[in-house]
């Protein structure tokens, strides 16, 4: 989804697989590495993880299925990168609660700053 309006109205059936794909420590670590230094090859992504390249590949495809990452060819290699637009939507749950606290804080401000 490209416009901010359609991104905001993410529907429940769309959100469930997204969160399910995020519910795995290895996948979260992969997203962290891509976030810090992507795009990266599977070889680079496997380094220091103690997880086989085959397992890393499976996790990357699981993330790909829900649109969190994507891969492109770079020379003879395939490299993986984040799909940031999709990640932003996962962040939106906290953004909503965050916005509610902004509202609550503003109401508190009005309440305590008005003369009694």
């Amino acid at each position: 989804m490209s416009s901010s309006r359609s991104a905001v109205s993410l529907k429940l059936p769309d959100a469930v697989p997204l969160f399910a794909a995020l519910g795995d420590a290895t996948r979260l670590r992969l997203l962290g590495r891509l976030s810090a230094g992507g795009p990266l090859s599977i070889t680079r992504l496997s380094e220091g993880t103690g997880v086989t390249r085959q397992a890393i590949t499976r996790h990357l495809y699981a993330l790909d299925d829900v649109g969190l990452v994507r891969h492109v060819r770079r020379g003879r290699e395939r490299v993986w990168d984040l799909n940031r637009e999709r990640l932003d939507r996962a962040k939106r749950y906290l953004d909503q609660i965050s916005a509610q606290w902004d509202d609550a804080a503003e109401r508190l401000r009005a309440f305590v700053e008005e003369p009694e």
Binding site: S9, K91, Y93, Q96, I97, D103, A105, R107, L108, V112
Partner: protein, 159 residues
Amino acid sequence: MALKTQAPNNTSSTDRIEKRVVLRAPRSRVWRALTNAEEFSTWFRINLEGAIAEGRPVRGKLTFKGYEHITVEMLVERIEPERYFSYRWHPYALDPAVDYSLEPTTLVEFSLEEAEGGTALTIVESGFDRIPLARRAEAFRVDDQGWDGQIKNLAQYVE
């Protein structure tokens, strides 16, 4: 709005939300607004029944238009007069048909400090990583039911 200038203090980790605001009011005034059930009810838009007391649950119906049928329960954890107040609750527990009681709670903490011209208030809500994934996704459904005002606020935080 003054809150905008505080935006850099909004954390973006998945487990916690942090807000910091400076209120132009004495610490004692802010403390009363936070821990007197009647005053809390007014600004928070809830109708708490009973007092806010350490180790005790306190509950009440929301007074937000359209959400008056929702009862919210807060379990008060710790009260340090004029400095710190915390409670646990179920975030976004807005579906009366769902029993949230067995789910993990988030911790809400209010901390007060002296600040130039008033009182610095820090609000932290943490523990979101323990909330079931399906519930986190459910928030989008609530969104679909029309949190138009919230979305406007949201626009300040997304690129």
